[in-house]
Symmetry: none
Subunit: 197 residues, 4 copies
C-alpha cells in the first residue's frame, strides 16, 4: 500500500536537504533522487519539473504561515500582539527546519520572467499581511502614524536578515538562543520605534 503523499513528502524533504546544501541551481535532480532513495523518474511522477519542487517547498511554508495568519487576524487582540505571535511562530518554524529557512531567504529572488507563482505569493503576501496588521495598529492608536508600506518592507527585511544570520550559523545551539533573543529584540525595536508617545 503506497501512499503517494508520503512519497511526495519524501521527495520534498530530500530536495530541502540538497537545495539548502547546494543552492537551487547547483542541486541536481539526480542528487535529490539519491537523497530521497528513489529513481529520478519517480520525482517526475510527483512534480512536473525541478522548478515545481522549489515552488512546492515555498508553498508548504507559505500556506503554514497564511493559515496561522488567518486564524489570528479576526481575533480580538491588540495588533501588536498579533505581530508578536506571527513573528514568534515564524521563528519557531525556522528553528524547527532551519534548512527550509535557508532556502526561503536564498531563493526567493529571481528575475521576474522566471519568478514562480509560489514564490511571488511569499514575496508579496507576507509583507502585505504585515502591512495590514500595521495599519490596524495605527487605526487603533497602538502605534504612531507611519508609512506602513515602508515599515512593513523593513520589518520583513529585518526578519529575513535575522533568519539568514541564524540559519547560516554553524552552531545549532546558538541558533536557538540567537533566534529567541532576536524575536525579543526585534519586537522591542519596532514597538519602541513605532510607539505612540
Amino acid at each position: 500500500m503506497s501512499r503517494p503523499l508520503d512519497k511526495k513528502e519524501l521527495i520534498r524533504k530530500a530536495a530541502i536537504q540538497v537545495i539548502s546544501r547546494q543552492g537551487y541551481y547547483y542541486a541536481t535532480t539526480d542528487q535529490i533522487a539519491e537523497e530521497a532513495g528513489v529513481a529520478v523518474g519517480t520525482i517526475y511522477n510527483y512534480f512536473r519539473s525541478k522548478e515545481e519542487i522549489l515552488e512546492h517547498i515555498f508553498k508548504v511554508e507559505v500556506d503554514k504561515r497564511f493559515r496561522y495568519y488567518e486564524g489570528l487576524v479576526n481575533q480580538n487582540l491588540p495588533a501588536l500582539e498579533k505581530l508578536q505571535r506571527l513573528l514568534t511562530m515564524h521563528f519557531a518554524e525556522v528553528l524547527r527546519e532551519p534548512q527550509v529557512g535557508q532556502i526561503m531567504v536564498r531563493e526567493r529572488l529571481s528575475p521576474e520572467d522566471q519568478q514562480l507563482p509560489g514564490i511571488r505569493g511569499f514575496l508579496q503576501g507576507v509583507p502585505s499581511r504585515l502591512q495590514t496588521i500595521l495599519e490596524e495598529a495605527v487605526a487603533k492608536g497602538e502605534i504612531r502614524p507611519c508609512d506602513t508600506e515602508i515599515v512593513a518592507a523593513a520589518l520583513f527585511g529585518s526578519i529575513e536578515a535575522v533568519v539568514s544570520k541564524a540559519v547560516f550559523a554553524q552552531d545549532q545551539n546558538k541558533q536557538k538562543e540567537f533566534l529567541q533573543n532576536a524575536a525579543r529584540e526585534l519586537m522591542d525595536l519596532y514597538v519602541r520605534g513605532l510607539e505612540n508617545r
Copy 2:
C-alpha cells in the same frame, strides 16, 4: 585609445545589464560579451571566470561603501549622524545605478561552498561596520543598550528590503521618491526604536 582598464569597465557594465536582467545563473557569457560588444574570449582576458565578474561587481560597490565609511568613521560626529550619512549615501548610489542594487540584493546569497570572497566581504563587512557604529552610539549614550549584532543585522535587512522594493518597482520616478521617503522613515524608525529615554 582604449586602455585595458576601460575594457574591464566595459565588461563590468555590460555584465551588470545582463545579470540584473536575467539573474546570474541565467546570464550567459555570450550575452555579456554581446552586450559589451566584445568577443567571449576577451572576457577571459580580464576575468578568470564568470564568477569573478560577479565578484568584481560586488567588490567595486563594497569598496565604494567602505571608502566612504573609512572617511566617516574617525570624524568627530555623533554616531547616529554617521549612520544617517551612510544610509543616505547607499540609497543615493542605488538610485544612481538601480541595476547594481538589484544584483546585490539578489545574488548575495549562495551556498557556502561557492561563496565568493567579494560577496562575503559585503555580507559580513557591511553589518559588522553597522554594528561598530551602533556600539559607538551605545558607548556615547546616543542610543540605549541593545544587542548590537542583532540590531545591525536587522538594520541591514531593512535596508536591503527597501532597496529591493524600490529596485523592482517599475516606475522610475517613484523609485526616487520611495527611496527618499524610505531613508527618512528608516532613520526615524531606528532612532526612535533605539532612543535613550
Copy 3:
C-alpha cells in the same frame, strides 16, 4: 463478459487513434492505455512491446487484404478485373478506417534493423501480389509486356500516395469523393498505360 480478445481489440483500436494522431514515435504507451481506458500494465498482457502493437495493426490489415486476395486469385476472372477489385476493396477499407490508412502510409518505412516482420509482410507482400496479377495479365495478353516489378512498385506507390492525400485531407466528405474518383482515375491510367494495342 469481456474476453481477452476483446481487450486486445480495445487496445488495438486505441493505439490506432493515438498513433494516427501523433505518429508512432510520439505516441506513448500511457496515452494508448488512457485512450483504451486500461492501465499501462494491461497493454503488456497482450503485447510484448510497443512495437508489437504497431506490428499487430499492420498484420490485421495485411491479413484482411491477403484473405481477400486469396479468394480472388483462383477465380476465373480477367486479371485486370482482379486488380480493379483489389483496388476498390483497399480504398473502401481505407475509407472505413482512414486512421489505419494514415498509419500504414506513415509508419511502413523504418530502418532495416528495426523492421518489423508484420510491416515487411505489407511492404513486400502487397507489391509482389500486384506483380503476380500483372504477370498473369501479361500472360493472358490482357496487357502489353512490361517490367512487372517496376510497374507493380509504381502502382503500389500511386495507391499509397492517393491514400495519403485522401487521408490527410481535413474534409471527410471530400475524402469519399476523392477516393472514388481516384480509384477510377488510377485504373483508367494504368489500364491505358498498359493496354495491348
Copy 4:
C-alpha cells in the same frame, strides 16, 4: 582559416549517413557528431536543433529540384519532355546519393503538428509542380484531359515507390540499372496512360 559552410556541410553529410542508417528518431546527436568527427556542441553552432538538421537535408534537395524546375519551366519544350527531364534528373540525384533518397522517402511523413516547413515544401511543392506541368500538357493537347491533381499525386507516389525500391536494394550495381529502367518504364506508362488518342 575555418570556413563555417564547410563544417555545416560536414555535419549535414554525417547526419545523412547516420539518419539513413538508423532512421531519424533512432539517430542520436552523439552519433552524428562522432560520424562528423566533431563534438556534439559543434552541431549546435550550425543547427538550432536535431530537427533543423533533417529540415536542412530536405531543403538542400528540394532547392536543387526546384532550381532545376525553374530553369525548365519557361523553356519552349513539350510538357512531356519537361516531365521526362525532371524525372531523369531526380533519379540521377538519387543515384548519386542514395542515402538522401532513403531519408526523403522515409522521413517525409510525420504528424501535421510536428511537420517541418522544409518537409512540407517537399511534400506539397513537388506534386504541385508536377501538376502544373500536367496541366500545361493537357492545355497543349499533349495528353488527354484528366484529373491532374490525382494523376500528379499518383505520379509522385510512383516515383517515390521506385526510389524506395532502388534505395533499399542491397546491390549498388542493380540500383543503377533499376533506376534507369524505371525512368523509362514510368515515362512509358504515364505517357501511354495519358495519351490523347
